[in-house]
C-alpha cells in the first residue's frame, strides 16, 4: 500500500497515468476529478512503491474491465450517456455500500453503483444532519458486530411482513385490476391483474427477506454485507411502496415521493444503524464502555 502515486517508480507511474487517461477519457468532465480521486484511492491501496507496470495492469483490471478488452467493447459497462453517468458492471455489496454510505465524501449525489444516473450518498446526508461524524468508523462497517446485522435484518423483514399482511388481509377487497405503472404526475398509466400485482410485490418482498437472511447469517466482509443488507431493505421497501401505491386507483402527486422515500428510507436507516453500531464498537474498544 502507498499513500500517493508519487511513490511509484517512473515506469509504474507512467502505466498508471496511461490507464487513467484511458479510463477518464470517456467520462463527463464534471465527474472526472471525483472519479480520479476514487481510482487514486483504490490504486494506492492496491499498489506498493516498487510495483511494476504489470502490477498496475493487474490492479486496474477490475476497475474498468472493458478497457482490458478490445476498443469496441469499451463504454459498454461504464461511462456517461446524455450527461448522466452509468455503471452496468455486476453490482456488488461492497460497491453498493461504498456508494450509498460514504460519510467522508461531502457530495450527496454520486454516480450510481449500478444503473444510470446518481445515487444518494446517505452518509453525507447523515453528516450534514449532524447524526454521525465523517470519520465515525476507520473503515465503514469493518467494526460493525454480527448482532447489528441481525438487528438490521428486522427492517426488510418488517417491510416484507407488512406486504404479506396487506395482501392477506386486504387482498380479497382489492379490485381485479391494479395500477402497474405511474406517470411523472403519479397517475396510473398502465394496469395489471390483481394476481400479477400480488405476485410481483410478494416476490420483491421475498427477495428482500431472503437477501436480508443471507446477509444476517454470513460472516465477515463488513462493507459487502452492509451493501447486501441495504439492497434487501431497498427491495422490501419498494414492495411496500408498490402495495400502497396500488391501493389507490387514481394515484396522485404523492406516489413518486412515496416510492423514492420507501426505498431510500429503509436503505438509509439500515446503513445508518450499521454504521452507528460500528462506531459504538470502536468506542467500546477504545473507551472500554
Amino acid at each position: 500500500m502507498i499513500t500517493s502515486l508519487d511513490h511509484l517508480t517512473p515506469a509504474a507511474r507512467a502505466a498508471v497515468d496511461g490507464w487513467m487517461d484511458q479510463a477518464l477519457g470517456d467520462v463527463d468532465a464534471d465527474l472526472r476529478p471525483a472519479l480520479r480521486d476514487e481510482y487514486v484511492t483504490t490504486l494506492c491501496e492496491r499498489l506498493v512503491d516498487d510495483a511494476s507496470p504489470a502490477d498496475v495492469a493487474a490492479a486496474t483490471a477490475d476497475l474498468r474491465p472493458e478497457l482490458a478488452g478490445d476498443p469496441a467493447s469499451r463504454e459498454r459497462l461504464t461511462g456517461t450517456i446524455l450527461g448522466m453517468p452509468y455503471d452496468l458492471r455486476r453490482p456488488t455489496g461492497a460497491r453498493l455500500s461504498a456508494t450509498l454510505w460514504n460519510p467522508a465524501e461531502e457530495r450527496v449525489l454520486v454516480p450510481r453503483a449500478f444503473g444510470v444516473g446518481w445515487d444518494v450518498n446517505v452518509g453525507a446526508l447523515a453528516v450534514k444532519a449532524g447524526l454521525i461524524e465523517p470519520d465515525a468508523e476507520d473503515e465503514p462497517f469493518a467494526s460493525t458486530p454480527d448482532g447489528a446485522f441481525v438487528r438490521a435484518a428486522t427492517v426488510p423483514a418488517a417491510l416484507a411482513a407488512a406486504v404479506a399482511a396487506h395482501y392477506l388481509v386486504r387482498g380479497r377487497a382489492l379490485p381485479d385490476r391494479l395500477p402497474r405503472h405511474w406517470g411523472i404526475d403519479g397517475r396510473p398509466d398502465a394496469w395489471t391483474s390483481k394476481r400479477a400485482a400480488t405476485g410481483t410485490d410478494l416476490t420483491l418482498a421475498a427477495a428482500g427477506l431472503g437477501l436480508a437472511a443471507l446477509a444476517a447469517r454470513s460472516r465477515g466482509g463488513g462493507a459487502g454485507r452492509a451493501g447486501r443488507m441495504a439492497a434487501a431493505s431497498g427491495l422490501a421497501g419498494s414492495a411496500a411502496a408498490m402495495c400502497v401505491a396500488r391501493s389507490s386507483e387514481r394515484g396522485g402527486a404523492w406516489v413518486p415521493p412515496l416510492v423514492v422515500g420507501s426505498i431510500l428510507g429503509p436503505v438509509g436507516v439500515t446503513l445508518f444503524g450499521l454504521a452507528r453500531a460500528g462506531r459504538d464498537a470502536e468506542r467500546r474498544r477504545d473507551l472500554g464502555r
Binding site: S4, T41, E45, D135, D138, E282, L287
Partner: protein, 111 residues
Amino acid sequence: MDKEPRTAQIRKGVVELAVLGLLSDGERYGSQIVDELSAQPALALTAGTVYPLLSRLLKAGLIESTWRESPVGPPRKYYRLTAAGREAHLAQRAAWEAVRDALDTLLQEHS
C-alpha cells in the same frame, strides 16, 4: 484559466505532508485537523479532502486512531502518527525542503 488547476496540482502533492506535519506535533481529532488546515488559505483544504486522506493514511498504517472522552461533548476520534508515519513525515519533509530550496534558488537566479 489554467492557473487554478495548476495551483491545485501543486497543493495536492503536499496535502499528505501537511497532515503528517500537523500530527507530528501531537495527536488531534478530525475537525481540529480540518480547522487547522483550512486556516492556511494557500492549502485550500476542506473536510471533503481531509477525511478521505485520513482514511487512506489509516489504511496505509501511517496514522492510527483512538476514541477519547471529550470534556465538552461526546467522545472524539483522535489521530496520531505511527512509527511508519513518523518515518514518512521525515522523509517527505526532507524531500519537500530539498524541492523548495532548489526551486527558490532557481526562481531567484532567474527573476
